[in-house]
Symmetry: C2
Subunit: 334 residues, 2 copies
């Protein structure tokens, strides 16, 4: 390998000006075919590549998208959360398909300036926020003056920021209908209570219960977000329960897995005695036993949609929020 440090040096070796090199390598502007080929060959041979930072400065674009995971109170636990990690992976794929890099940032939201600070640094061309968490208001405010931002999460009426997420109400309804069809009558809803997404899912469940005249029987089992704590929460509540439910809708797959473990710890058969359905469609759901019935949010598809919308916004378009169709995936837990 050689020691070409910069364009100027390379240009001298090639015997042309830096301008010509730049145009030859980027394929823009008028350069003779012969020169272009000669330069390209030399660059390949010497291993020359234009410096990304300098280019970014000059072109005012970084070709990098920041992915932010706002960590709420349960900071330490989120890090290994399968949902975020899975989503990040899909986003990385979708972005790299379009030539963008992914800058991953764990953010502890502090005050209401954390998003501004991130944007102001100019490290990225646009941002993707995974989950509104407790930061809905901050995101909403920023979205009014900063366009290239797309959020994974729930969608409420009147919302300004562009979000992508499944139709949580519909998904909740799907879940509960499935349990009812399977014969469940004493239904419980397990999961975290805060955040717009979970609320909507719960609403979907309640609505169907009302419609079918079962509404009196809904049991609520609040739990933490994090897998281990969720398991403990659920187990503690189920252990002392007066009448065991025969069907449990979980607010997420992570919660559902906690529910499965709790039931197993209490020696309750799934799906024999209790049926369990999750929400998310994480790959890991297929790997637990019994494999988890769930509402699939089509995360891979969602990631593609997020990136697509973001690119449009980067180009100046204004885009509407999108809902993803939730899909029932029946496995062995119901």
């Amino acid at each position: 390998m050689s020691n070409i440090k910069n364009l100027k040096e390379f240009a001298q070796l090639a015997g042309v000006s830096t301008a010509t090199i730049s145009r030859a390598l980027s394929g823009t502007g008028r350069v003779s075919e012969e020169t272009r080929e000669r330069v390209a060959a030399l660059a390949e041979r010497l291993g020359y590549q234009p410096n990304a930072t300098a280019r970014n400065l000059r072109t005012q674009r970084t070709m990098t998208i920041g992915v932010l995971v706002p960590l709420g109170h349960e900071a330490a636990q989120h890090l290994s959360d399968p949902f975020f990690n899975t989503m990040t992976g899909f986003l990385a794929d979708a972005l790299s398909d379009h030539g963008y890099d992914l800058l991953l940032s764990r953010v502890l939201p502090k005050g209401d300036r954390w998003l501004d600070r991130y944007i102001g640094s100019g490290k990225v061309d646009g941002i993707i926020v995974i989950g509104q968490s407790t930061e809905f208001a901050v995101i909403e405010t920023v979205s009014r003056r900063y366009l290239p931002m797309v959020v994974w999460g729930g969608q409420v009426s009147g919302q300004n920021h562009c979000s992508v997420g499944s139709d949580n109400r519909k998904g909740g309804a799907l879940a509960i209908r499935h349990l009812i069809e399977r014969g469940c009558r004493r239904i419980a809803f397990a999961g975290p209570t805060q955040g717009p997404e979970f609320g909507e899912r719960l609403q979907g469940v309640k609505q169907v219960l009302r419609e079918t005249g079962l509404s009196e029987t809904l049991i609520e089992l609040p739990s933490h977000f994090e897998p281990g704590a969720a398991f403990e929460d659920i187990r503690a509540q189920l252990e002392g329960i007066a009448a065991m439910p025969d069907g449990i809708v979980a607010g997420s797959d992570v919660t559902a897995i906690g529910v499965l473990r709790a039931l197993q710890a209490l020696d309750i058969d799934v799906p024999g005695q209790v049926k369990v359905i999750g929400y998310d469609g994480l790959p890991v759901g297929a790997q637990v036993s019994p494999p988890l019935t769930t509402i699939d949010q089509q995360l891979r598809h969602g990631a593609g949609m997020i990136v697509d919308l973001l690119l449009r916004r980067l180009a100046g378009e204004t885009t509407e929020s999108r809902m993803i169709e939730p899909i029932l995936i029946v496995r062995a837990s119901t």
Copy 2:
């Protein structure tokens, strides 16, 4: 929010030179305390932040570390792999503790220049490679001329590149000894066969078997890397097996989870009829049922170590590879 675009503009508003602003905000160089405070207050009020790209160009550092996941043949599947995702999360934490950002890249290794290309672009100050996969040779070559690189993976004698990983041979030995203590006599090893790490783990197992005079009985159950395919591989092999093993060492937790499912599908009780032990210590292992006994590689600790070594190399030190002590975590699968 205001519309300060750059240092020059801000300097005019503040009534001092750009040089002074820069020094005041960065805290380097000689600036009177009074000026410093005034500038800082104004910057806070106007929301001014120096442009990261320009700074990167001038200082010749990006404060960004690239994390590369070389995808072997099983490209499509790796993306949702819990191991990579977990590791990436821990690395993100460790890096941000030191003020570095994490640039995530999925790389399809093509030819032997992919690493050079990545380094040559100048987007990052250093790189972390997760898993040597089939790219051991490329990594080794590059490591001779490019210092700021640390690799998660196995360590072989004479290796030049700096790697961090558990003592795979020792870990394999730990796993098999545990099974033997639990009374297992017909041992199987399940998992992918390529890659230095898995090989070492298998060697550890074999060595202990030899020492205890059980070596004749090792059954090998090769499988794909990816969870779903691994499950199928294992199930197919166990289904037609002449004599079922009573203890299975899996090459990774992901494989182990596939083994658990395969056994469940065949209606074989774990740990009653067959005991299963994994390798990695992924959080998800605690969430499956039965919770997985495993060899913990202390990934969080490992990530911290990788970052620590990388920072040293960035500072010009040469560093040796490190082994992480594998730890037996006993759960319900054995």
